[in-house]
Amino acid sequence: MADPRDLIDRALSALYGEPEPTPEEEARSLARFQSAVAQRIEGQPRSISWRLAGAAGLAVVVAGLLLTLPRQETAAAETLREIAQLVEEIDPIEAPDSSFIFVRSEEVLLMEVQAEGVGRQEGEPSLFYQLPVRRDSWVGYEGTLQLSTTATEPTFFDTTDRALYYEFGIDEQDAIGETQTFTVVDAFDTVWATDKDELDRQIRGMLPLGSTRPEHIDFLDVALQAIRESPATPASRAAVISLLSDLPGLELVGTVGGVSSFSVDFGDNDLEIRWGFAIDEAGFLRSESRTNLTADGRSGLPAGTVTFEATYSAPATVGSLDPQP
């Protein structure tokens, strides 16, 4: 069989050619480049003596500002910037095209079954319970996602709820004890930008419309997608974490074993909610939670109810979609 290399190269050359810039294109590109250079020259010190004098003057000004201005950088922002710097230095994960990024998460989901579903009258309270789910995800480099979920015995808020749960077969709907697997092609088609400003615009373009949460919380929600069970590159993860450092209201909870925990409180309708999340030094999301800080008048759930909780393993590269131990 003939070596296809020659024909492939020539066909590709025919397809793509050798584009030459026109004089207009050359002039346009050069003008834009020169404009950028000129801006930077304006910002550059004119001479060594000016530089030294400027530095001395600047030192005085900075010292004065430090004495008079409140500290702007919070501990959370500082920690996130440090993580971003660490992540920037990481080499991208390299793996065969046929391999997958595997992440196992242990989640607790707050579930609701409306009154009619458990034999209650319309208008009576819904049934709430917390469902633990083990979730394995395999993300292929071409965007394929396989999810495998296994729900286990729920936690109930009272014994009546527990009895209703089994009486009305909700356990079968939840497939307690069964492992369910499904595959989605092109699930991860988002390529996260690596430039911070560009990423900021990209995320803002993905914010939900008509949300009842503050915009910076929606921003957090979208941004965390890039570092949760995601094949995002270190450069993208670094940019995400750098953006997170600018979020208002973020608090550093602590750092243990290289994993730093943060929280942010916000209002959503009548509820006060705390969103917690933890990021490791490789820039991956390792846990998150959402907790109602106030009692929920609609559901009757007390203050302190955890509505979502998850821990994520560090991503590992695996060669197949087979179950992992």
């Binding site: 024909l7 793509y16 050619g17 346009r28 590109s29 390299e94």
Partner: protein
């Protein structure tokens, strides 16, 4: 003609920004071609200047042990183009070509070779669509942009071994998808024989 290496010029530009203009003049056409193959032609000039401006801002990160700045500029180019694509949701050059049909010319080929190549090119359009993105990227950098394995490794941030593996797979897969690519076009300008025509 400035005889200094790219590394020397970039080092000098840290103190004098205008020095970076030498890098611009030296690599403009190559970077322009790299961009024009991947985006709508109308955007190529602006994106080319964007790449150089971005490079200017991160020139302190250039590895001065590298013999040329071109792979570094291509690497920045990939990011700039990727960001642009996401922002405007425009089709890639490949999509444009596929959608637009015969936009290319077969230059410098004999009529017979051109005929076979034109079949191959149309097969290639379809085959490239089927190729995994990462394999396609390596193939284009090698066959179209003329980068060496080492340069591709530098541009993509992967090892040379992985480059070779992906390239091999890309070629094999292309030939599987488009069997016509396994045929060898005639290399001499001689007219085909009756047997060839049959």
């Amino acid at each position: 003609m400035d005889s200094r290496s790219d590394a020397e010029i970039i080092s000098a530009s840290l103190d004098d920004v205008s020095e970076f203009g030498v890098i611009y003049r030296r690599h403009f056409k190559a970077v322009f071609a790299f961009v024009a193959r991947r985006v709508d032609r109308s955007e190529a000039a602006d994106l080319t200047s964007d790449i150089f401006v971005k490079a200017l801002d991160v020139r302190h990160r250039f590895d001065t042990s590298q013999p040329t700045a071109l792979p570094w500029l291509y690497r920045i180019g990939r990011n700039v183009i990727g960001d642009r694509m996401r922002r405007v949701s425009r089709r890639s050059r490949l999509d444009v070509v596929i959608r637009g049909g015969s936009e290319w010319e077969l230059v410098g080929e004999s009529a017979e070779t051109a005929a076979l190549l034109s079949v191959s090119v149309s097969e290639m359009e379809e085959a490239l669509k089927e190729l995994p993105r990462r394999q396609r990227e390596v193939l284009l950098l090698s066959s179209v942009d003329g980068c060496s394995h080492a340069e591709i490794a530098q541009i993509l941030g992967i090892s040379k071994g992985v480059v070779a593996t992906r390239l091999f797979r890309a070629r094999e897969r292309l030939a599987e998808i488009a069997p016509v690519l396994r045929q060898q076009p005639p290399k001499s300008p001689d007219p085909p024989t009756e047997e060839d025509r049959g």
